[in-house]
């Protein structure tokens, strides 16, 4: 009995130490990526697609041998579409030992949480498109689609040459994302000599667009640039149809999203958008394969946010494998001016380059909703 007492302390220590030892052993065999996204709240349509695209990529990366030969794990963190929560969760993910952050999508959140990743030298792939994100000198933040300052100018030839618009209207959501796109669009129209005759701001989560649409209708522009998040875009399109807004409605990315079409129904018919990537660009083999896999796995069509999440995880894998370690500083150095070609890195889907600020360039598409689906009506070269 006395002998047992003597060893009881050692036994207890061993019992408590064992899980930690096992944990360390597991940690050494895995690479953790922190998926921080808008899984609930106003951003849930974007965030859940982003998450699912990333999950699909993690499955494929593991099947292809993981990152640096190690299995990839991706814990999920729900920001509830709250910037302050997202900041705390990025910190929590880093404390949990992630080597890269995948997210967030909403620009308002990214602007707040990317400072935490930067302070910890952790690479961060984001789905956000506000211009300010890459203008803050953060060497650890990288886009998975072009920012509004690149995407919106791609629309200028469409307004000027295809629609031959002389006067246009802008309807935008008054948040970081909307304001960024609206400012770039107005500057672009000024450069192109097109008058912006009406500028209508709406609030995030706004439900009643009767006044907004009535004002646009009254101003009678040749076309309207619509720059809102998904649910707001759907409500706007429903009201636009109700009031028979006659001019073309042209957006950047979200206006022709699958979720917007589902919510707006027939009201989405005819809407036009420039999209960085779209699952309907099935003439691109990588995108067609991705769309098939996603639909088989999640029983629904992927959105561009799903493609962005997918590209974020695969980019992390490609770059870490190139660097040969998970070190954030080395990763950041490698990302400056990096170009990944589909020929060598097929899961990047389209030839993609990042500049020294983390901004992305790649070919993009013009799509229009026809028969309830977005259809590619043209391609735009990388700018």
């Amino acid at each position: 009995m006395g002998h047992f007492k003597h060893h009881r302390g050692l036994l207890l220590a061993a019992v408590f130490a064992l899980p930690a030892l096992i944990g360390t052993a597991q940690a050494a065999d895995t690479v953790k990526l922190g998926m921080v996204g808008e899984l609930s709240g106003a951003g849930a349509p974007s965030g859940t697609n982003w998450r699912d695209g990333a999950k699909l990529a993690v499955t494929e990366v593991n099947a292809a041998g993981g990152i640096l030969g190690k299995k990839v794990e991706m814990p999920e963190f729900d920001t509830q579409t709250d910037p302050q929560v997202s900041r705390a969760l990025v910190q929590k993910a880093i404390d949990d030992g992630v080597v890269a952050i995948i997210g967030t999508v909403y620009s308002g959140s990214t602007l707040v949480n990317m400072l935490v990743a930067k302070q910890n030298s952790i690479p961060q792939f984001v789905g956000s498109e506000a211009p300010t994100i890459v203008e803050r000198g953060n060497p650890f933040v990288y886009r998975t689609s072009s920012g509004a300052q690149k995407g919106v100018p791609a629309l200028t030839p469409y307004f000027k040459d295809t629609l031959k618009a002389k006067k246009v209207g802008v309807a935008w959501v008054n948040n970081e994302f909307g304001r960024g796109g609206r400012n770039v669009f107005i500057a672009e129209m000024k450069k192109a000599g097109i008058d912006v005759v009406i500028d209508v701001a709406s609030e995030q989560a706004q439900t009643d667009y009767a006044a907004d649409v009535a004002k646009l209708k009254s101003a009678n522009p040749d076309a309207v640039f619509v720059y809102m998040n998904q649910e707001e875009s759907a409500r706007f399109l429903i009201e636009a149809k109700k009031q028979t807004l006659p001019m073309p409605l042209v957006g950047e990315v979200t206006l022709t999203e699958a979720k917007v079409i589902e919510l707006a129904g027939p009201a989405a018919e005819g809407a036009i958008a420039h999209v960085g990537v779209t699952a309907t660009a099935t003439e691109v083999p990588g995108i067609a394969a991705f769309a098939r896999s996603f639909e088989e796995t999640f029983k629904r069509k992927p959105t561009h946010d799903a493609i962005k999440g997918y590209v974020g995880v695969w980019s992390t894998k490609y770059v870490m494998d190139m660097v040969g370690k998970t070190d954030g500083e080395a990763f950041s150095k490698k990302m400056k001016g990096l170009c990944l070609k589909v020929a060598d890195h097929p899961k990047i889907l389209l030839d993609t380059c990042w500049d020294d600020r983390g901004e992305m360039s790649r070919p993009s598409f013009m799509v229009q909703v026809k028969g309830g689906s977005p259809v590619v009506i043209g391609s735009v070269p990388a700018n």
Partner: protein, 292 residues
């Protein structure tokens, strides 16, 4: 002119739906001398019952509407009264108000948990085709929403004023003790009030969700605006709730169109403060004495 007419009509159509919800506040106040802060969620939830009918039970849209109406009236009328109001009311109105706040959170989070955080499409009751009215293209859906809401309010007023049951309900609201002495089945009348409130909330849900989309958080703003509408119009009068709802709907749209869109959300609150300062009983409400 065309723009003004469109905005005015949209405001009236939205305001009429606010009025339906606001009348619910008035009815519950008269029946139980309390405020149901879950009223917004009572409007959010019936749309999800319809979606369950369509997507889970495979019912047609119109049968699902009926299913949604029955489930809502039972759960938000009968069960709400039996499980929440009756046990808690004897402990005081404030306790019940807090309980309805908790209920609102429970309903909202349950809808989110059960049906997800994403908005869901909801079929429109009427075609959205435009019609020409005095030279302006206005929405047929707006016109029908307005006509149905106003029609229901008129019918409800006639029911309360012209039928025996309606007058018994009014007697119960004014003085339950005296009504009981006079042979009115007070408990039954109170139950009718809660069932009517649930039916009004359901109708509001069916009319507004095709535009607002079915989302767990829909009740937040709607409940607040309807509450303000009830106060602005007069909390103790059905016609007050109607006036308040229409006024806020129209002013909101006119302000957003002709003054500022940025501060439109503040308008109902500004109106509320002004009414409380100038005419605390509301625009068409009557003063109520309180014994201390």
């Amino acid at each position: 002119m065309s723009q003004f007419l469109q905005v005015l009509l949209s405001g009236l159509a939205t305001g009429a739906v606010y009025a339906l919800v606001a009348i619910g506040f008035t009815l519950v106040w008269q029946a139980a001398q309390t405020v149901n802060f879950a009223q917004g969620e009572f409007v959010m939830l019936p749309a999800f019952f319809v979606l369950i009918g369509m997507n889970w039970l495979g019912l047609s849209f119109w049968i699902s509407l009926l299913f949604g109406l029955v489930v809502s009236v039972v759960l938000l009328g009968l069960v709400f009264k039996k499980l929440i109001v009756e046990p808690i009311l004897p402990h005081g109105g404030i306790t019940l108000i807090i309980a309805t706040m908790a209920l609102g959170i429970l309903l909202k989070e349950s809808a989110k948990e059960f049906y997800g955080a994403e908005a869901q499409p909801f079929p429109a009751l009427f075609p959205g085709d435009p019609i020409n009215l005095f030279g302006a293209a206005v929405s047929l859906r707006d016109l029908l929403n307005l006509a149905i809401s106003l029609g229901v309010v008129v019918l409800l007023t006639l029911f309360l004023n012209r039928t025996r049951t309606g007058r018994c309900m009014q007697a119960t609201a004014q003085n339950p003790a005296v009504a009981e002495i006079l042979g009115v089945d007070v408990k039954r009348m109170v139950l009718y009030t809660f069932l009517i409130n649930a039916a009004l909330a359901t109708l509001a849900s069916f009319l507004i969700t095709p535009v607002y989309l079915a989302k767990f958080s829909n009740g937040e703003t709607l409940g607040l605006i309807a509450f303000i509408a009830a106060i602005v119009g007069g909390f103790n009068q059905i016609r007050g709730a109607l006036v308040g709802g229409l006024l806020i709907g129209v002013l909101d749209n006119l302000t957003a169109t002709y003054v500022t869109a940025q501060y439109r959300a503040a308008l109902p609150l500004v109106l509320l403060i002004a009414i409380i300062l100038v005419r605390p009983q509301g625009l068409v409400g009557t003063s109520e004495g309180r014994a201390v």
